[in-house]
């Protein structure tokens, strides 16, 4: 099954952003994931055709980057940070607890296709450790209990909002479209800064007022 005319037109608009079209391979892969959920064969073939590359060249790029999935992932992709700082502060315990809860391990998806699990590396939110990402949205300061609630919410179709993100958690496909550069209009939702981001500023202000 090939992509629709509209989808192919979106691909052309992505290519047009760059002085050289090969640069569009990464956003195009994100776009394919937004349509198919992962990097499908038809996605690889179409990107190769659009960019005058071989399918092997596109696959070589796709397989290099961990965010591009060669197998379907869940509608909600859960990443537990188990790099050193998060792991030590609780990320390892959270990972174990999530495995038990879901009955899957890293790089697996629940049978209903709803939730997949990944151990992730540092996600640049260490002042909010331990950090969990769902569809690459921040869930800050997590505990095994809070992640269980998060998973319950996902299962019942009512996940809690990300800590620093839009008011409602979007699906894997929807967020993949954002990474392809297709705006969902949610930029102004959510906090401008979390508590930790404001710590120094607040201290500076209280110093100044003394």
């Amino acid at each position: 099954m090939s992509f629709t005319h509209e989808e192919l037109a979106v691909m052309d608009s992505i290519i047009a952003r760059y002085p050289k079209k090969r640069s569009a391979v990464m956003p195009l892969l994100h776009y394919v994931q937004s349509l198919d959920g992962y990097v499908t064969e038809r996605g690889i073939e179409t990107i190769a055709e659009k960019l005058d590359l071989s399918t092997a060249e596109v696959t070589a790029v796709s397989s290099f980057y961990t965010q591009y999935k060669s197998e379907p992932v869940g509608e909600y992709h859960v990443g537990i940070c188990t790099n050193t700082l998060c792991a030590i502060m609780g990320g390892d315990a959270i990972y174990e607890s999530v495995c038990q809860n879901l009955g899957i391990k890293k790089d697996q998806t629940t049978a209903d296709g709803k939730i997949s699990l990944e151990r992730i590396e540092c996600n640049a939110a260490c002042d909010y450790a331990p950090v969990v990402m769902v569809n690459w949205e921040f869930y800050d300061n997590q505990t095994p209990a809070s992640v269980n609630e998060l998973l319950d919410g996902v299962r019942s179709g009512n996940p809690p909002a990300p800590t620093r993100g839009p008011s409602k958690l979007r699906t894997w496909k929807e967020n993949s479209a954002v990474l392809a550069g297709l705006s969902d209009g949610l930029a102004e939702e959510g906090l401008q800064a979390g508590e930790a981001s404001l710590l120094g500023l607040n201290i500076a202000k209280s110093q100044g007022s003394k």
Binding site: R22, V25, Y65, C126, N135, V178, A180, Q192, S197
Partner: protein, 433 residues
């Protein structure tokens, strides 16, 4: 006098801080108008004079980098912003972009004008969707306001700005790997020379700067070189973002003049978490050799940290208390480097696998003391033998932890396992969870 100096973070407490309206309310885009009235060379000279140095790790003077771009060569020039923040412990650019993306956009326009670039790029790591939204919206609003596009503010200067999402590869934070990735290849570092200033993006003269470096530019244009130089130390001028994380009472971002010490920051932040003591810490991410309590008074500027045997890096202060097993921490970092090695250079690709195997045995108490020497010997054969600094980063935690905590490694061997309870280092009770 205040020991902190919020500049980029000065208005983060306003709920609409990320909007163009809020940015302009505080004088935003005034520096751009000012810069466009100067010549590009005058802008470069000003940034050179300010002493601004790269905030992404290496500390190279930003103005010098700009001045390396050949002029009058009739080639396209590019400014590429490295927003691929992924060095473990580093968490400054993402909150900056969430709360104040226009400081980066304004800095990009000024920097592009200075180096005569008409198309610039932001390479943002892909695992931060909301940051992408904020930056994308900021770019759209800057276009709508006439700060991007054709004939910016009537100056005759044109600039296109493209936001590009990465896809989860730490190595793309290395500037030449980033350029390969942006060109649509696997992100693998290039041999240098030629440096990006001569042959960067699409083999054209290119400047690659960190988010914070570029975001600092408008403030320097606005307030002047003297204002900037009044902060910081002799060779490390200005203010910067320090990110405090780990076993502290209050983690967070601190914008302070370069040269502040960890002791000062901890005093402001309420110290180590209650009932515990500092054991080890990184001054600038996991690639910078770790410090201990004896380094609390090291000035956190480029020279001070270097003189004490580490690097300022990204100013990612990761704090670990006495409950933390340094062998476990080091192993996890080395596993990270193994996972993120791009595979181009043999010493890194193969060496990091060997490091992980030996470290795993040591943590499980299965090795012998001779393994410690083997580990150091391996490190010696890995560091400095690859195209980029990833491998150097991989050996940093090993060499530094062995320097300060050799006894703890040996304790694992004599006790036949890890003597630490991992539950004690978590922030919560795991029982019943």
């Amino acid at each position: 006098m205040s020991t902190l100096s919020p500049v980029l973070s000065a208005h983060w407490d306003e709920p609409d801080s990320f909007t163009i309206a809020a940015y302009k309310r505080h004088g935003g885009y005034g520096a751009l108008a000012k810069a466009l009235k100067s010549t590009p060379d005058e802008v470069i000279a000003l940034i050179k004079d300010s002493g601004l140095r790269g905030r992404g790790g290496a500390g190279f003077p930003t103005g010098n980098k700009w001045s390396f771009i050949p002029q009058g060569d009739n080639k396209a020039h590019y400014l590429v912003v490295n927003a691929d923040e992924s060095e473990p412990g580093t968490c400054k650019d993402m909150p900056l972009l969430l709360a104040n993306p226009h400081s980066l956009i304004e800095g990009i326009i000024i920097g592009s004008y200075a180096i005569r670039a008409n198309h610039s790029f932001i390479y943002l790591r892909g695992e931060v969707v909301h940051v992408y939204r904020r930056v994308q919206k900021a770019i759209e609003d800057a276009y709508a306001a006439g700060f991007l596009g054709k004939n910016i503010l009537g100056s005759g200067f044109d600039l296109e700005l493209t936001l590009h999402a990465g896809a989860g590869a730490y190595i793309c934070g290395e500037e030449t790997a980033l350029l390969d990735s942006l060109e649509g290849f696997r992100g693998q570092p290039r041999l240098r020379p030629p440096f990006p200033a001569i042959a960067g993006l699409y083999a054209m003269p290119t400047v690659v700067n960190n988010v914070e470096s570029i975001a600092s530019v408008p403030s320097i244009i606005e307030h002047g070189v003297e204002w900037f130089q009044a902060m910081g130390t002799e060779k490390s001028k200005g203010y910067t973002l320090y990110s405090l994380s780990g076993h502290v009472a209050n983690p967070g971002q601190f914008e302070a003049p370069l040269g502040i010490t960890l002791r000062q920051i901890l005093e402001l932040a309420g110290g180590i978490r209650s009932g515990h003591q500092l054991k080890f810490w990184t001054p600038g991410g996991s690639s910078t050799p770790m410090f201990t309590a004896e380094h609390l008074d090291v000035p956190l500027d480029y020279e001070g940290v270097s003189a004490a045997g580490s690097m300022l890096g990204t100013k990612a202060l990761q704090i670990f208390d006495e409950t933390t097993c340094v062998v476990r921490a080091t192993l996890r970092w080395v596993e990270f480097y193994k996972h993120e090695s791009c595979g181009k250079c043999t010493p890194c690709r193969e060496g990091t696998w060997w490091l992980v195997q030996i470290m795993k045995d040591l943590e499980a108490g299965k090795g012998t003391e001779a393994d410690l020497e083997k580990l150091l010997d391996l490190c010696d054969n890995i560091a400095g033998r690859s195209f980029c600094a990833l491998a150097d980063g991989a050996v940093s935690p090993i060499i530094s932890s062995l320097k300060y905590f050799r006894a703890e490694y040996i304790q694992h061997l004599t006790e036949g396992g890890c003597p630490f309870d991992p539950v004690a280092s978590t922030l919560f009770e795991t029982a019943g969870a």
